[in-house]
């Protein structure tokens, strides 16, 4: 665990404690389970975003992909009667293709990630709305998929399966980013792509892999969201989720310039953001202020982080000066 992560963990615990003190309902099993469920759902795509950000890229189409994959998944099952494992396979392949396309446009056509994924944001949202003729894709009344629902929206020993999925993905992501050669290459490409190339790293391939991985996790997240809401309204489903993911990653210590960040950080970032959401509800703050609260906390966190590192710098300087003066006397 890095120093930054410990600071963030402290903040999470502090905010949690304050909310619990003001409104004990925060710790009620129902509230905890609901919050945990949301953490799981939002966490999946936040980790996805982190893998792209570490390469100095950005993925802005996450919310739109969640909407598009969501309507297709639900519609395949509800309208076309496709067995759900087949539908799942289809949408996962589609997600991978989207990631591959983004990576290809960015590396081979040398387009900027911001532009590519901004266009993706607009295109996938538009296609999703067109696909349902701006209607809602939902399961017909009384339809029932016990296995799918158990896997995606069920609970084991009171723990929502979204949380379990998030935990598994987080552990896998941690190993992948912090312990494998691929992870090292992601950091290297994000920090200095030119030096990475001169070190024999196939930078284009690493970047494409990052976008494919991001799209894959987003696809999983989309299925969880579709089953969570059970009906997908394509004009609003998943709106702003990409910004949510970026916020969690930035809170978690990822630099938008690339080459920095940790999985522990982004997990804590997701948790903090959900506690803040919960705080708005539980403390009776008007829900219209929701985004304002979130934005303020992120801003405060980022400012505190830069100020602390500046303070540490000054402190080290003073110690060094003192040592010099002492050695002169001695």
């Amino acid at each position: 665990m890095q120093k930054k992560d410990i600071g963030l963990a402290t903040l999470v615990v502090t905010v949690g404690a304050i909310v619990a003190a003001v409104n004990p309902r925060f710790l009620s099993p129902i509230n905890l389970a609901n919050t945990a469920n949301l953490i799981g759902l939002f966490g999946l795509f936040s980790i996805a975003e982190a893998f792209v950000i570490v390469t100095a890229g950005i993925e802005l189409s996450i919310g739109s992909v969640i909407a598009l994959i969501g309507v297709i998944f639900v519609d395949l099952i509800a309208s076309f009667g496709v067995p759900w494992p087949v539908a799942l396979a289809i949408v996962m392949v589609l997600s991978l293709l989207i990631g591959l396309l983004h990576g290809w446009l960015i590396t081979r056509l040398k387009l900027q990630p911001f532009v590519v994924t901004l266009c993706g944001l607009l295109i996938y949202r538009g296609v999703a709305r067109f696909y349902t003729r701006d209607g809602t894709a939902g399961f017909t009344f009384g339809s029932d998929f016990p296995m799918l629902e158990f896997l995606v929206s069920g609970r084991t020993a009171g723990v929502p399966h979204s949380v379990i999925a998030f935990a598994l993905v987080a552990v896998g992501a941690w190993f992948l980013l912090h312990r494998t050669v691929f992870g090292r290459h992601l950091f290297a490409v994000g920090k200095n792509a030119e030096a990475a190339r001169y070190s024999g790293i196939n930078t284009d391939r690493v970047i494409i892999q990052a976008y494919v991985l991001c799209a894959f996790l987003t696809g999983i997240s989309a299925v969880f969201f579709a089953m969570y809401t059970r009906s997908v309204q394509p004009s609003s489903h998943g709106n702003f989720y990409e910004l949510y993911g970026i916020a969690a990653a930035v809170l978690g210590g990822f630099s938008l310039r690339g080459g920095e960040g940790s999985i522990v950080g982004v997990v804590l970032g997701v948790i903090l953001l959900q506690i803040l959401q919960n705080l708005v509800n539980l403390l009776g703050i008007p829900s219209s202020l929701n985004f304002a609260v979130m934005g303020s906390v992120i801003l405060a966190g980022v400012i505190a982080d830069t100020q602390f590192s500046r303070y540490r710098e000054v402190r080290r300087q003073q110690i060094a000066m003192q040592a010099l003066l002492d050695s002169d006397k001695g």
């Binding site: 950091f187 290297a188 200095n192 030096a195 024999g200 080290r316 060094a320 010099l324």
Partner: protein, 501 residues
Amino acid sequence: MTELTNGPLSLELSGITKVYPGAVALNKVSLGIRGGEVVGLIGENGAGKSTLMKVLGGTIAPDEGEVIIDGQAVSALTPARAARLGIAFVHQELNPFSNLDVTANVLLGREMRGGAFGLIDRAAMEEKVRPILELLGTRFGPRDPVADLSLADQQLLEIARALSINVRLLILDEPTSSLTISETNRLLAVIRKLRDDGVAVLFITHRLTEIVEVADRVVALRDGCNAGELDRGEISRDRMVRMMIGRDVNQFYDKSDHAPGQPVLALKGVRTKAYPTHAVDLSLRAGEITCLAGLVGAGRTELARAIFGIDALEGGSVEIGGRRLASHSVPDAIAAGICLVPEDRKAEGLFLDFPILENIAMPSHRAMARGGFVDLEAETMLANASKDKLRIKAASLDRAVAELSGGNQQKVVLAKWLAMNPKVIILDEPTRGIDVGAKAEVYQLMQALAAQGVALLMISSDMEEVIGVSDRVAVMCRGRISGVLERHELSEEAILWLAVE
């Protein structure tokens, strides 16, 4: 506040101390200079030269010490104030605005206005810039876009910028590191002329011959302290080196005889992006140091990049051990045993913010991994071994490479390749901007590698180095090899003759 900005300047720095975490950059350093004098400032990298210059330029404030200009103590020197006092800088790191033209760059921030609306008066600006360019004898004019200028021309542009203010003290930080010989000579002439006009010139360089040519006095720094001073009559190469490193350098170029073995690398009709119509044939033998000499822009770096697979070949083939490289990418080249120590260490060779350990292990990650997982233990052992072998001076392997001196940074680049057991090492200006002590270590290492049977190809613009280190010199001129000189044929004249054709 009245500031005298005419007449010769006198400047006195005394007891300047600047401390950084983990390092004392300057420890009670004193330096004096007055108008009509050229002072050479020498010292190894990390000796504190650049920090001292930044104090003079007002970009960093010293923790202790006094700056006295024209007899008055200046407490808070800011860049703007330094400029008003007539202190002009030519920095080592070039950062021109490549989106603007020459005139706009030279007068940036001091644009001339005219007319009723106070719009920029281009004609007047060009009028002001033209004589400065003529003085410097540049190949470019006031209207040329900066994006098209070579590195050497950009260097001259920086100098023109410094001359465009009413300069009383000109500080040149390694101005000749990318200049050709004729450009260097022209610059030295300009320095002499400025001195005769009463300007004080502070000249920082690693090229000691230039100091011998122009300096009236030499001040040496070592480890952030004053390490001695020499007057005009006392200046000699040996004495300067001794002051800088605090000991004698016997046998700077320890040239041992190598018995060249089998040809390892063969270039057959290689054509590069820079000169797509010119084919290059060259073969490197095991245990031999071949140097690629030539002027800046002769296509040497482009050739190195093409061999290493950074740039695609425009034609021809690269063969190693008689086998042609298959798809010719960087990973292929590395797998075949070719590696490249690039010219731009900071941008291409290193991840400055990453720890030393990570930098050394970067190309070896894959080879050392177990089932895709990084083997931290093996990497730590590798890095520790490299640190001892190459004598990398660092508090710990976890420190960022950015904290190291230039020489130690270069050793980290070398370490990462030596870990791969290469057959061919290409070194592009391996000693540029590194201190004398580290230079000697790099040369020793090159000799040791040659003795082990590695084929080395060194690109260098430093004639002394070329003659001192190489077994064989291939001279490039405008994209083709204009001649190959064996060791007994080596002389500065012979190389130059081939280089300019």
